[in-house]
Structures are given as structure tokens and as C-alpha cells.
């Protein structure tokens, strides 16, 4: 266990822990509301945070698969948030 190895291991561990806490906080806002737009904003933040968590996990494991999963999460989050926001404006998703 060299110094650089422990440095990068601890940095990855810290990033994973902090991003997990951030995801919990975003979930808290999604659950607590109080209004629908707060929930949508919380959900959007949750998507971004989990996407970053996947990128960090990819760095830890060293495979490109997590990167692709992260990209899918990003695209899905975008579509979901746009649909929900449209729903809040109009009351209908498809017009």
C-alpha cells in the first residue's frame, strides 16, 4: 500500500460517500415537497447526483460499463424532468 495508492483510494471513498449523502438529501426534498415543483426539482437533482455517483464507481472499478449506465441515467433524467415540468404547466404531457 503506497502513499499514492491510499491517497486515491481515500479520495474515491470520500467522493462515493459524499455523493451518496447528496442523493439522500435530494430524495429528502423530493419526499418532503412541499409543492409539486419542489418534488420535480428534487428528482432532477437526484438524477444528476446518481449519475455522478456512477461515474465515480466506474473510476473505482475501472470498467467502462458504469460510464454508459451514467449516460443513460442522464438522458432519462432529462426526459423525465421535461415531461413532469410540462405536466405542471399544462396538466397534460402530450398535446
Amino acid at each position: 500500500m503506497t502513499l499514492t495508492h491510499s491517497l486515491i483510494t481515500w479520495a474515491i471513498l470520500y467522493a462515493q460517500f459524499v455523493l451518496a449523502v447528496a442523493a439522500c438529501l435530494a430524495t429528502l426534498r423530493t419526499l418532503r415537497g412541499p409543492r409539486a415543483q419542489d418534488r420535480v426539482l428534487g428528482l432532477d437533482t437526484l438524477y444528476v447526483t446518481v449519475m455522478l455517483l456512477f461515474v465515480v464507481t466506474g473510476i473505482r472499478v475501472g470498467t467502462p460499463f458504469f460510464y454508459e449506465a451514467a449516460m443513460v441515467i442522464g438522458v432519462m433524467g432529462f426526459v423525465a424532468t421535461v415531461a413532469l415540468a410540462k405536466f405542471l404547466i399544462r396538466g397534460e404531457v402530450i398535446e
Binding site: 495508492h5 483510494t9 470520500y14 444528476v48 447526483t49 461515474v55
Partner: protein, 122 residues
């Protein structure tokens, strides 16, 4: 985690620093999301995570994988561009949804709609 063992310091240092910065900024953003009082204040909080939070973590990933694979790896740029292009759209739509709902309910603390617009176009 075999790929992390023989890293030189000049790779491991920047990667560690960028990871810590990115994760901390994202945490601060979500902390603001929970802590701030009004919705319009909370609208600003996630931009910490989507600007330098995301950029720093993606940079760390780019540096590390470029070293591990022995060739420049830049596909993280695609996620970066995706986040950069989609965040304005989502935040603008959520903000407008909130304005629309607040106006429809007649809350006094938001600016009124402009009379010149017939209807807000979607």
C-alpha cells in the same frame, strides 16, 4: 482495483483533488436544496452540482482512464455536453412551471405576467 496500484503521484494527485472538489460541490448543492426557504432560492442550488460538480468529476475520470488505457480518453466530454445542454432546459421549464402555478393561485410574491403576451407558448 488493480488499475489503481501503480499510479504516479502526478496522476493520482489531480484525480483525487478533482474528485473531492466535485463531490463536495454536489453535496453543497443538495444541502442548499434541503436548507433554503423559498422555491426560487432552491432553483439555484442544483446548478452547483451541474456546473463544477459534474465538470470536476468528469475531468478526474478523463485523467485516470487516459493513463490506465494509455491513450487519450475523452468520452466523458459527451456526458459533460449532455449536462451542459440539458440543465438550462430543465431548470427553465421547472422555473416557468412554478411561476405559472404561483400566478394561477394568485400568490403576491411573484411578478405578474406581461399583458402583451396572449398566452405563454410552450
Amino acid at each position: 482495483m488493480k488499475h489503481l496500484i501503480d499510479l504516479p503521484l502526478w496522476i493520482a494527485g489531480p484525480v483525487a483533488v478533482f474528485l473531492v472538489i466535485g463531490a463536495t460541490l454536489t453535496l453543497l448543492g443538495t444541502l442548499g436544496l434541503v436548507q433554503l426557504r423559498s422555491f426560487y432560492d432552491r432553483l439555484h442550488a442544483p446548478t452547483l452540482g451541474t456546473s463544477w460538480g459534474a465538470a470536476a468529476i468528469l475531468l478526474a475520470s478523463m485523467i485516470l482512464f487516459s493513463w490506465v488505457e494509455g491513450r487519450p480518453v475523452a468520452h466523458e466530454l459527451v456526458i459533460g455536453v449532455l449536462v451542459m445542454v440539458t440543465t438550462p432546459v430543465t431548470l427553465m421549464l421547472v422555473g416557468r412551471a412554478a411561476l405559472h402555478r404561483d400566478r394561477a393561485e394568485g400568490r403576491g410574491d411573484v411578478p405578474p405576467a406581461r399583458k402583451t403576451t396572449g398566452s405563454d407558448q410552450g
